[in-house]
Each structure stands twice: as C-alpha cells, then as structure tokens.
Assembly symmetry: C2
Homo-oligomer: 426 residues x 2
C-alpha cells in the first residue's frame, strides 16, 4: 500500500459541513487502499479572529506567544476532522506539529522546517489509523518552543510529511481546480495545466500565481515529491507539479509546451531614485541600506547615465507593504549618496511569461513585447530569468497585458473551463 | 522570594478587557516580590462553543479527539494573558499542560494527575519570567496523549503546581468573594468565612457549595497547600482553606466555630425501590447493578420491613443526569430481585450542615431537626458523617430550610456583605 499525503486549507474547512465533506474525501482515499496522512489549516477565518483577539490585548504581542495562540487554530480543525472521520466508521488520530515530529528553527512566525521525525505518525499508520496533522506549526530544535511556519505553512507541512514518509504523492486540496495558464478571472479562456515542472511552478508562484506557495514547491523539488493541486469541491484531476526542465527525457519531447503560463502581480510598488551620481559604490550603498531594513527588492533597473551630468536614475520594485519603510530609509541616505529626489509609484503591475521552452526557442521576448505594443501597453521595466520574462506595466493595463500575452502564445482553450481563481490562505 | 500560584477561571477571562485586568492583577503579585505561576481556564463560554462544534461534526466524538479539541481553549487564553502581561512591561512565558509537566493517567475527559515535573516552569521562573500554564490539561504518562482533567480541572492544576513548586499559597480567583456560611442568594445575611479546614471544605464542596471543586481540595489537603479563594473583581481578602479538624492546636481554640456553614444541592433525584423482599443479597444486587452502570449513588435509606409482608423499601439519591440510566437498569432487575415498583422524584433538595465542632458538641442534630420542623420543612431522608448532617427535603422547601438552619446556628452576619454566589466553571 502506498502513502498519500493530503492538505486541506481553511477555505475547505470553513464550517462543520465542510469538515464532514473533507472527512468523506479522506476516507475515500483510505477505501481506495492507501495509507492516508492529512495536513490541515485552521478553519475559515479563525486565524484572523485569533489575530484580532491578540490585537485587542496587546499592540505588539511577543512572537512566542503569538505562535502559541495561532497554533490553537489548527488544533481545533484537526480534532474536528478526526471526529468527522470517526463518524464515518474509520479511525483517525490527530497530532500537533510537535507530536508529528515537525522540527523547525527558532524563528517564531516564520520558522523553517529542519527535519521531520515521523515516528508517532508511522506508529499510527501501522495501527491502521488515518493520521491528521496540524499544518503551519512545529517545534524548535534548540529550545523546544512551539513555532509557526508563516505564509504557505500548511502546504509546506504537507510536502515535508510526504518527503519524510516517502509518500507517492502530496495532494494539495484548494478552492480552485489546479494551476491555470493565466488567472481565469482575467482570461476566461485560460486552460488548466495537467502537469508543470518544479522550476516553472516556482517562477509562477514567485510571479504572483497564488495557488501554491513558493516554499512548498522548493521543498517538493528538493525531495522530488510530486504535488497534485486540485479542488476540494470537485473530483476533477488537477495539476501535477513534477519533473525538472533539465530532465533529458523532457528535452526531447515534442509535447512539452513552450510557455506554461502568464502570471501577474499587483502587490508591488516602484521606487525611482533620481539623479544618482554615477560612481562606484552608490548602488551598493542604496541597496545595503534597504537590505539592512529587511526590505525585499524584486526588479532593479539602472539607466545609462546622461553624459552631460554624469547622473543616473535607479528604479526598483518592492512589496507595497515595505514602501513606507523603504522611503524613510532612502530619505535618510540623501546627503550621503547625494541623489536628487525619490519617486514612489504604487499604480503598477507585473506581467510574467513563464516556460521552460523559452530556453530553446529564440524570439519569445520579441513576440511578447510585440503583443504588449499591439495591446497598447507601455512597458516600464524588464527583467528575465532562464525561463521567465517579466515586465512592469501601469496597473490599469494589467488585464489587457495578461490577455494579450495569453493569446499571443496560443494558450487559449477552445472552451472555457475555468472556475474562479482564488488565494490559498496558508 | 516566595512562589505564589494563582488560578483564573473562565468568568475572569471573558474578553480582552477582562484578560487585561487579570494581567494587572498578576503583575501586582510580581511587583510585591513574589515569583508568580498562573493556571488559566478557557475564556468565558469558549469551551461550550468548542463542544457545540464537536456536536455538529459528530454525535459521539472520540474522547481522545475531544480532549485535543478542548485543550485549544486554554491554549488561547494562556497566550493572550501572557501577551497582556508583556504589554505591562513584564515578561511572561505560557506553557501547555504537557510542557508544564502535568503528568496524568490515560483516562480522556477525566484524567487524574499522577505527577508534576515542573522543570521547564522552574527554568522560566529562574529567568525572571511570570509563568502562565494552561489549566484543565495534561499529558498521559503511558501513551503521551493529551488529556483533560474534567470538571474543576483548572483548580486542580493550580493546586498541583503549588504542591510541586512548594508554593506559599494557591490563590483561586473566582467571581465570588470567598466561601460563605450559605449561598448569599438564599441567605442575604450569610457571612464570608475567613478560614475553613480542608475537611469542612471537602464536605461543603461535596454537599453542593460550588466555589471550589472537591478534587482540588483533596489535592491541597494531601500536600498541605493553603488555598486562598478570592474574587478577581475586588481586592478583598477571601477565604483561606487550611488546617485540619484534627490539629491539636485547633482543638483547644475557643474561636473555632461549631458550624462552618450550610450547603444545599438541587442536582439530585431520589429513586425508591418499593417492596423489596427483605433477604440477604437483595440490596447488594441492586447497588452492584447501578455501580456497573457507572452511576454515582449519594444517600441510601432502607426502611425497617413490615413484619406482615417481610417487604422493605430502599430509597437512594443520585444525580439528575443519571436518573434515566438508573431507572432503565433497575427495570431490568425487576424479575431477578422481585421488587414491586419504582418511584422517581426529581423535586428534591439536599440541605447539609457542616462543622468540625459537631464532634464535640452534642445536640446539633436535635437543634437542626427542630429548626426544620419550626420552618415547616418535612425531612425525607437523613445521612451523617463525622462533621456533616444532610437531609433530603422537598425542592420547594430548600430556601426556607437553608435560612432556618443558618439562623438556628447563629451564622447570620450583623450586616449583609455578600455578593452574588456563582459557579466556578472548570
């Protein structure tokens, strides 16, 4: 018998009826002859409710206690799922992250999994039980403190359990049918992908596709665990994330698509540092200061300096949420670096074209930029990786840009099959 | 520096403001120079809400999973209390029952504490932290499963921590000012007791006084930990439970009151087995069957059998909640035992007079029964212990009986000082 690991997010566990539906789904996998291990998130909005309570009690709660508080959410949902399974005539055992052997570092609120020691889980499996594990949480190796894994934590828990148990597959149940060639809310003709490689999925996730969190995909790639993303509201096959773009078998395949999909992201802002003296060390001073302020920079563009003035402009993008801190940090550098002024723009969007095929097919960039131009979309910044081209456009142009790129690369389906595309919570 | 253990129940932790008030109270004890360890219950009605959720998911949830679910309640309150303390400029560390070393047997839902291994708590105290412990919960010695202690569990947690840490005192904060000579809702002139012995408190608790749970008092007596019951809504001194009725120093004291108080209990029902053949083994058959059905019997009275028929009646009291099961069990015995019929009466109440002094003062029973008679109260059953006399009366007579006994033994205060008398939750 093989082991199947499943993950259900908060939107699949919104109330008692949803929990019973999930329980039926879990027992079907068991009936099909599998050993089943399930990672669950907290029910619906319960994490937000706990955060509200914390905010009422303390404006800046200690991270250790916040983790202690939030981990109650998964504890509640895992016990309820186990009860619902028992009501269907199967036996289930729920385990906290700590009991399940999810060992992390000591960074409260965004701990990283160091190891999984699944002794108790294996024992429960061997006794014939379905195992339910609290997602999003673990216990720190050094201090034995309860930790949480941060955003996407339950996806990561599920993948880590699958790796430790050498599971056949990690099924991520969510409220969409899988990974699409674009957000179906923008492109109604977007197609669901049957498979996508780890590298492409990583680029999609990093470029704004919300269906899977980056960390869980990284973990799955490292341990070579196939992830099957599918809907908890239907029995349709979803998207399987598996295989590498560097797999020799894949290289020869005629079927591998050139472009996997078009992602977009409205969560970034752009800062331009105007009139920076074009000399050694100026850019380093700017980005060192931003790094010290814990700000994540995405794209960076530096113009060629005007010969007359020997001044240049440096633009970069960063999350909206870091905008205020970044501007304050940069203002503090004005005299030291000697730039002229700062511009801040939140009205931007990023469009990314992702596909392993672009390595072997010349002209992808040209086709992409031509499509943007024909759609009347002005490109502000460009960055590329081996299998991705991203452009920054005006926020109002995002929908048109996504649609244009999707059509230009023949990604449109013959029929509309999409459902609403949503977030995955954690 | 001494160690003070405090306990706050759900009614003292009903919302964010209540939690902040409790946090201030805790920090005052720390400021006064004590090391402080606090056991907390779940907030307000949150345990009932979790039970509701469980009932929606499964009509008969497995006990293991119910414990996993319910322990989330204390986890939430302990983290919030720790946050609120941190907001006042002190540091606090919260610990689950398991982390705090509360070791129990494996009986889910009503586990007994076997041992407390407070290594982590001591470590946190030594580092200067205020320690918050989830009440009502522990971890089983044999199976390492999460357990709950059942009713009165957080009181017991607090006393067990006090014993393990050799604390100076265990303060139980509740919504009443202390232990009273009678329920002030019935007897407005009831007085708060300054002190009461363990034995008297045990009898009061067993006889219906809800302010402290029996198990916690037993634990405190065994380990000789003084319990200070007081209000979390005022700074008044409450009642200290300490000392034995067998303490030689106490025997000589003129100040020891003869009667500690009058308790009442409306939670019992009475079953009468009519026309039982008066021969050896009949009573044993009846009560063995009830014991096998897990029914707790309180008082038992057997009439002298009528010479003509050689038949007797056996009456006993038991909790309302066991009434249905008991009647079903007894009906099943009818042919075997050969009794005539069964009578069931829920409209009863129990009045108990409790006091160490009744051992050395003759005539207490006579005075009690006389007071009942003068108040027009008919006595149905009588039982006594060394320091207690209990009578069963009609439910409508309970208030008059309590008031009459209270007055007869000169327990009335000169002035009314009572607040509303309530339950303690768990």
């Amino acid at each position: 018998m093989g082991i199947v690991v499943q993950k259900y997010g908060g939107s699949s566990l919104s109330d008692a009826d949803a929990i019973k539906r999930v329980a039926r789904r879990i027992t079907e996998a068991k009936k099909a002859g599998n050993d089943v291990v399930v990672a669950v998130s907290a029910m619906g909005d319960s994490t937000d409710e706990l955060l509200d309570l914390a905010a009422q009690v303390s404006p800046l709660p200690p991270a250790r206690e916040l983790d202690m508080l939030l981990t109650a959410g998964e504890r509640i949902s895992m016990a309820l799922v186990a009860m619902a399974i028992s009501d269907l005539g199967f036996t289930a055992r729920s385990f906290t992250g700590s009991q399940a052997g999810v060992i992390t570092d000591s960074v409260h609120g965004k701990a990283k999994i160091i190891d999984v020691t699944p002794g108790r889980i294996r024992g429960a499996i061997d006794e014939g039980h379905i195992v339910i594990v609290a997602g999003f949480q673990g216990v720190s190796q050094a201090t034995k403190e309860i930790t949480t894994l941060g955003r996407g934590g339950t996806d990561t828990t599920a993948v880590a359990l699958a790796a430790a148990l050498e599971a056949d597959v990690c099924e991520i149940y969510t409220d969409v049918d899988g990974v699409f060639t674009a957000d179906p809310r923008i492109v109604p003709s977007a197609r669901k992908l049957d498979t996508v490689t780890y590298e492409e999925m990583l680029e999609l996730a990093a470029s704004g596709a919300k269906v899977l969190h980056l960390r869980s995909v990284e973990y799955a790639r490292r341990h070579n665990i196939p992830i099957h993303v599918r809907s908890s509201f239907s029995t349709l096959e979803g998207t399987t994330v598996t295989g590498s773009i560097n797999d020799p078998a894949r290289e020869g395949s005629m079927e591998a698509p050139i472009i996997a999909g078009v992602a977009h992201d409205r969560s970034e802002a752009k800062i331009t540092v105007v009139g920076v003296p074009d000399k050694v060390g100026e850019a380093a001073a700017i980005f060192t200061a931003l790094a010290d302020a814990q700000i994540n920079i995405d794209m960076i563009v530096q113009n060629v300096s005007a010969a007359a003035t020997n001044l240049t402009d440096i633009s970069f993008t960063l999350p909206h949420s870091d905008g205020q801190t970044a501007m304050t940090t940069l203002h503090g550098l004005k005299n030291k670096v000697g730039f002229e002024s700062l511009l801040y723009d939140e009205k931007i969007g990023k469009i990314s074209l992702i596909g392993a095929g672009m390595r072997s097919h010349p002209g992808i960039s040209a086709k992409f930029f031509t499509a943007m131009a024909e759609a009347g979309v002005n490109i502000g910044m460009i960055s590329t990786s081996e299998i991705r081209i991203s452009v920054i456009v005006e926020e109002d142009d995002v929908d048109a840009a996504v649609q244009a790129a999707h059509t230009a690369f023949d990604l449109d389906a013959d029929e509309v099959e999409a459902v609403v595309y949503g977030g995955t919570g954690r």
